[in-house]
Symmetry: C2
Subunit: 495 residues, 2 copies
Amino acid sequence: MKLKIKDMDIATGGPLVAVLNIKDAMKFDIHHLDRIKIKKGKRVETVVADIAENSKAMPEGRIGMYKEVIASLKLKNNDKVSIMLARKPLSIEFIRKKLDGKALNKKEIDQIVWDIVHNKLSESELTFFVAACYTNLMSIDETIMLTKAMARHGDTLKLDKYPVIDKHSIGGIPGNRTTMVLVPIIAAAGLTMPKTSSRSITSPAGTADAMEVLAKVSFPINKMKEIIMRTNGCIVWGGSLNLAPADDKIIGVERTLEIDAESQLLASIMAKKYSVSSTHILIDIPIANGGKVKNKEEALKLKQAFEEVGKRLRKHVKVMITDGKQPIGNGIGPALEARDVLWVLRRDKRRPFDLEKKCIAMAAEIFRMAEVKGGKNKVMEILDSGKAYKKMKEIIKAQDGKIFDPGSIKIGRFGLDIKAGKSGVLRRIDNKIIARLARVAGAPADKGAGIYLYKHVNDKAKKGENLFTIYSESKHKLRFVKEAMEKLPGAVAIK
Amino acid sequence: MKLKIKDMDIATGGPLVAVLNIKDAMKFDIHHLDRIKIKKGKRVETVVADIAENSKAMPEGRIGMYKEVIASLKLKNNDKVSIMLARKPLSIEFIRKKLDGKALNKKEIDQIVWDIVHNKLSESELTFFVAACYTNLMSIDETIMLTKAMARHGDTLKLDKYPVIDKHSIGGIPGNRTTMVLVPIIAAAGLTMPKTSSRSITSPAGTADAMEVLAKVSFPINKMKEIIMRTNGCIVWGGSLNLAPADDKIIGVERTLEIDAESQLLASIMAKKYSVSSTHILIDIPIANGGKVKNKEEALKLKQAFEEVGKRLRKHVKVMITDGKQPIGNGIGPALEARDVLWVLRRDKRRPFDLEKKCIAMAAEIFRMAEVKGGKNKVMEILDSGKAYKKMKEIIKAQDGKIFDPGSIKIGRFGLDIKAGKSGVLRRIDNKIIARLARVAGAPADKGAGIYLYKHVNDKAKKGENLFTIYSESKHKLRFVKEAMEKLPGAVAIK
């Protein structure tokens, strides 16, 4: 029997799904969430069946298709297709196995990742996998296999270079724009650093958001390679590439419950590094009370896991444990962070010294790992001589950018100064509240929105002195910020 | 800011979901799977946000709504609504707690069940809950709390009677239509038995499917009560009532992975019994190699758990462990099973003696539990005197049915006889293959389709003798059966 296509005109954004009327479903003995094979000419695609209980939702004789299925089978509205019951994807059995607390082997993990990448799992099935890995922890072996499988089922960047440098900072700290300072330093030293970064999800800015203030960040992988071949480095948005795509889908599910399986975190970070052929990887683990890594003990445990996974993947991995209890740098929000970065690179006296200090330590560590002589002195020479800034200009140009001067970066027109209510020493800056206020002000969507800090923890402040300014691109949003501040007091504490 | 409704003209069948264009989502700082409050006049509903990446899927300025949201807010297409970011449901935190292996308290379980019933959880969040209960087993305490919460958040049937009898057979055995024989026997003895049954999901027939051959099975709860007040019993479809509705949603998620958490199974069965005020409950656990309960050890463990939960709920619970290695009764499929039942009640010589024997033992056990004197002799008297058949006629009439005569039940017009390939003793009947063939023949959607067995295990068969007949309502489906038989040999084994 054949059914006529009804184009639902919606994308599911993931699983391949088709909708059947309940009467048709009964004829074919198809149930909600069963798999069906849809055939049109020589093309065949297996999808998840969704059953519409009444003919308003889906008339008899028709089959509703979401964008992904339409695209995969190259269908048009009113085309006719034949359908038949299909087996569930192979990985269902393996997910159940993991849920039952058993270890998975390479073939099984590979099949699961393949099914994830190809949208063969329903949201619920993918969730069962994530939950299984979370409750029945993955072993180091499984984590390695997952890392490799995620990298394998996606694009990879092959570079005929050695060493290939990479770094990753565990997120959750406002500011902390180290990548944009490090890449030009490392590239200026003649090393290769093919850096991919993320956009913000819940923070005021990701590295990709900040870099986008200066240049383009979305490139196909061959263009990324060109940029690296020309400049030794790049700072691009990982989301524009198809690197370890399974990872993004897994993270999407984790986000619903705000859980973070350690094995998942490791595999997620390392798979992206593996995909771009990195050989030397520096991991920055900031400790912050309200952050991802809450104390030294957790940090050391994670450090050990990173080192173990690195060794097993035959990568040089080094972990730095850093202080994340307050924002790093003065600017928070894409434009304000990009300006901080350019100020550091141009040796401007307005540059944030905390960010600079951290970047110098990280660059020196990378030189040590890559056996480049000179350490901190060499980093200072690259910065002070203007080589790092010159390299940044090259990278910005290679990435089709035109902004090299911090003065031409547009900051939000509307500002709200927050002043000290009393004199004293600044004891605490609340990362979460600062991040929230910057977002309410419009960051990261409004590039110029955010917060500029004049003081950091342990600085003295006099009553009435400016502590920070909130910038926004609209008066409207600045009003929201004022409302938010009433609900969220305590962004900064003075004693 | 306000958005204009776009009626998606589809039901999600569960979670409350609205679709936003990505630009609008960014303006409101709303992300995929965030919760948003939608306001129209005085009505407010909290839903899950789905983000459309392009304006073809959802234009800017519009908000797509599925049926459930439209209904809840009484909206019309092109209505304008205001939206704002909302907090996630309270139960998210509790689900995470269970996922982290901690025990939940009454308030937490109650909140989760409330959120499930009111469609407040996304499919992924509900899956995390099911996975958490599966991997971090629920204690008896938690199971009791879950049972009561599921019953509380749904309709309940209050009966001013004592005792109130109920029974449940763990599924997976073809035939086994004990309920339709037991209810008239028990009701004829003057006891009250408000029986709700399920329809088939993956089997050739559920009790509700078979009863529907004789009478209506969908009733609102007040009509169900009327039927019971008039006849002492009923055999209705639980799905037409709103008894423990959270359970159906949980089972829907379990089904995707074909898992069965023991605590979930217990809570699921007991919540439905609790909802109809049962006081004496007989549980039938059939052991079958390929069934839900695979061996004696598993059966004893489950028996103990049922008895413990029963005691804690202050219900009289008795568990019978029975043999489920072959189909029970001769007919498999709604009409064929209903005919078997009427044959037993009418003492027809064609009645299936295995089904009769099992029902007599179960009825005697119920009499013992309810302290009704006479045991098996009393059961036989009720059957042989025609009282049970008379009671069944009363119930069928009360349920608006007209078929009392097995001869007027329509069996599929097209039959395929399967004959013994050699003489010998019948050693095995494969439940799964028999069930599959009956489904391919059209059961349960085609009421007359199914299989009629002439032989059971240990019966002798001569070469060429009929072993079973497959009935279908169309030649077309019978052809499918022939194909299926080639792929699935070994329905019956003779040695």
